[in-house]
């Protein structure tokens, strides 16, 4: 019965009711795989319904109970991070960002492009917030940047700001290609190594002792 009702609610765009029926089907599922799929569909339906409380609750059940398949887990964790982000609950958002990074870190060979993208985005968002917290300590870089950073601090919240801060540093390091490698360019590289380590923190490799007498 719940299956038929769920179908009917979905067909008529009654997403929340369809989600509730799917939740009932979770309890009635006869195999773990069926339970997993129903839970995932229920969470998606609550998302479509715009019911954040139920979406969070269901995605959380899903992610906590189903670490595999990894790709689905990553989507669930990503959605939870987005939902907490929209509520301004950064502690929980960070928790799910970390879970995404850990998932890919633990088994990088198993990650596909989409998973790597999610993990990289999670890293970016997580570090962006940390960087924002430290921005008063690391700036001013130079006079022109003081103005920009002040404006930045006044104007922005949470993490869309970080695009701007990173833009400033990325513009600044372009000067290195023109032969300028002054203190400010080097500081911008330092900031970018912290805020975007996947792209900028690439320390050069050197050999240790040579064993060949030559």
């Amino acid at each position: 019965m719940p299956a038929k009702l769920a179908f009917a609610y979905r067909e008529t765009g009654q997403w929340e009711k369809a989600g509730d029926e799917l939740n009932l089907m979770v309890a009635m599922a006869t195999t773990p795989e069926e339970r997993r799929e129903n839970l995932q569909i229920a969470a998606e339906l609550y998302d479509q319904a715009g019911n954040e409380d139920k979406a969070i609750d269901t995605w959380r059940q899903y992610a906590n109970g189903h670490p595999e398949p990894a790709a689905d887990y990553m989507e669930a964790a990503n959605r939870l991070a987005e939902l907490y982000e929209s509520r301004g609950d950064f502690e929980r958002r960070d928790f799910w960002l970390n879970r995404q990074m850990e998932k890919v870190d633990r088994n990088p060979e198993a990650a596909d492009d989409r998973m790597r993208y999610l993990a990289a985005s999670a890293t970016f968002a997580r570090e962006a917030l940390a960087y924002y917290d430290s921005i008063r300590l690391t700036l001013p870089l130079n006079e022109s940047m003081v103005a920009k950073s002040n404006a930045l601090e006044d104007a922005v919240q949470a993490y869309p700001f970080e695009d701007s801060a990173i833009d400033i540093h990325e513009q600044n390091i372009h000067r290195a290609r023109e032969g300028i490698f002054d203190e400010w360019v080097q500081r911008s590289y330092e900031s970018l190594r912290r805020s975007l380590p996947g792209r900028y923190n690439k320390p050069e490799v050197t050999a240790g002792a040579v064993h060949d007498l030559g």
């Binding site: 993208y117 290609r177 080097q186 996947g198 690439k202 050197t206 002792a209």
Partner: protein, 201 residues
């Protein structure tokens, strides 16, 4: 430990003495191929002793006894200035200690003996990059790869230079791929670097 050091010093002393005494004989050896092989045997022994002393100094270096390692390499390079190994390791020790100018001097001496020494060229590349002289860095890495196309540190460093400092991820990408194909244990972050470079091309 003290005995070890004394013994090592004794071996090194003997070696250096033998190195001094045997130098001219080694030079003369190729002209006396029909003569009894005493000289060749002694030369072989002195080479073996030198190899042994060098290996011991390398162990000291790797165990962190850098002062003693440095002292021994300096002695060796004074007695056997034509050997690149002690010079390179003096360069590496100076580089690791942050003594950039000293390191540069040692590595440049290496290049006088062997212009294609990849370890020296790679270190000179890194030092140029640290100083912001990206074109020299690129040149040094390319020279290292010219001498040894599979020298992984220079391969990866050239990719980093192009990717991070010269803003040319498209040129870095094939180098990352090449490193991936050659490295027995590539850096675990390599796939992410490749993915990110592709997205920026």
């Amino acid at each position: 430990m003290i005995w070890d050091k004394k013994l090592n010093a004794l071996v090194l002393g003997l070696l250096l003495l033998s190195g001094c005494a045997l130098g001219p004989e080694r030079a003369a050896a190729p002209d006396n191929r029909d003569a009894p092989d005493d000289t060749a045997t002694v030369t072989g022994e002195s080479e073996a002793l030198l190899q042994e002393a060098f290996a011991e100094a390398v162990v000291l270096m790797e165990n962190g006894d850098t002062d003693e390692a440095r002292r021994r390499f300096e002695q060796m390079t004074a007695q056997h200035p034509q050997r690149t190994g002690p010079l390179v390791n003096l360069g590496v020790l100076a580089f690791q200690a942050g003594e950039t100018e000293l390191a540069r001097g040692w590595f440049e001496e290496v290049l006088v003996l062997n212009p294609g020494h990849p370890v020296a060229l790679n270190h000179l590349g890194v030092m140029a990059r640290n100083a912001g002289d990206f074109r020299t860095a690129e040149q040094r890495y390319l020279e290292a790869l010219d001498a040894n196309p599979e020298y992984l540190p220079a391969l990866l460093n050239l990719a980093f230079l192009l990717d991070v400092y010269l803003g040319e991820p498209g040129k870095a990408l094939p180098l990352y791929e090449q490193y991936k194909a050659l490295a027995a244990e590539p850096d675990p972050k390599l796939e992410d670097w490749i993915f990110d470079a592709k997205n920026r091309i």
